[in-house]
Amino acid sequence: MSMINYASREINCKLVYYGPGLGGKTTNLEHIYGKVSPNTRGKMISLATETERTLFFDFLPVDLGTIRGFKTRFHLYTVPGQVYYNASRKLILKGVDGIVFVADSQLERMEANVESMQNLYDNMAEYGYDLTKIPFVIQYNKRDLPNAAPIKDLQAAINPGWPIEDATQQKATPDAAHPGESLVERVGGEWIGRAPYHEAVAVRGDGVFDTLKAVSKLVLKTLS
């Protein structure tokens, strides 16, 4: 729910980093916090346990500068990834404008990724939001690890695509970030759409800003 304040000329948008526990959601925010100039970001708030596991959320406001005389401000949130924190995870999704799903590329975390994605769909549906219609980007994190699954397998498990029934949307759309791949394509007579994805090594910062940029763009596009 982007909020436009014509009096103070501000646009505020809410982005949520979702995904399984220990996947790197907080690491994404920490990298952004460390790299962005202190003038364009606020304080980072982490509600975490003593062992630095996210308990409720992390929060980081980032200004993206002035556009059309309006200050654009993105509020970045992470959710707790651990399964049993679903009640608090769901609260953070309220009024979300864009979602980044941080998947853990390690083979042994495949099931946790799928479970978390299903949980995201379910929690969104409970608010009446349709994940296939809001800005949504997937980040495959930990690409540097030797046990990282191939992108093809991750895509098949986590981002298999959804049917596109709206005729105006049924047109082949190449994925600009990955030559030879498509975001919307016809498979066996049926049109399907997929979420754009980015590869990352969040501890090194690789792919962190590509992901943020991709989702912010999609959010601002919904306002243009």
Partner: protein, 161 residues
């Protein structure tokens, strides 16, 4: 429904909100009143300028209110329409406005909780009306935001360039 609906308010709405809150602060002797959207965004601040980071404060307020909402449901209440956090010197009073916004009142020993609660009741009623009218209006004309951010992509590119 594709996602959450956006909302916006005009300068006139803003002036009305400020006038209500200024009257409330005067009557209750509270120091400061903030309006925070349920998603954690700061809508307005009236009274003494807070000496903390208002953006972080707003996100925590929304989380606090949402968590308490769920706690209310667990014990069989529809909601806690208001919350009080009482400190030794500084205290906070939070109240729901039109199910979308939270009024946060900061007060110290110059004000009493009883007076703040009493005066808040009236200002909550007035603000409920203002916000409900605002949401009804937005509900009928979401198209007003179209084109507001044309050309934004270049500026994002520049920022991350």
């Amino acid at each position: 429904m594709t996602g959450a609906a956006s909302w916006s308010f005009s300068e006139n709405d803003f002036k009305q909100i400020q006038a209500h809150l200024q009257g409330f602060l005067r009557d209750s002797s509270a120091r400061c009143a903030l309006l925070v959207d349920r998603t954690g965004q700061l809508v307005a601040t009236v009274g003494e300028t807070p000496h903390f980071d208002p953006t972080a404060f707003a996100s925590l307020t929304a989380a606090d209110f949402s968590a308490n909402d769920q706690l209310a449901k667990m014990i069989g209440e529809a909601e806690f329409a208001s919350l009080v956090h009482q400190g030794e010197k500084e205290s906070m009073y939070l109240a729901d406005i039109a199910k979308r916004v939270i009024l946060v009142v900061l007060f110290d020993q110059r004000a009493t909780l009883g007076l703040v609660k009493l005066k808040a009741k009236a200002v909550v009623e007035n603000l409920n009306k203002v916000f409900e009218e605002m949401f009804n209006r937005v509900g009928t004309g979401p198209a007003q935001q179209k084109g507001l951010l044309e050309g934004a992509e270049d500026e994002i590119d520049k920022l991350f360039g």
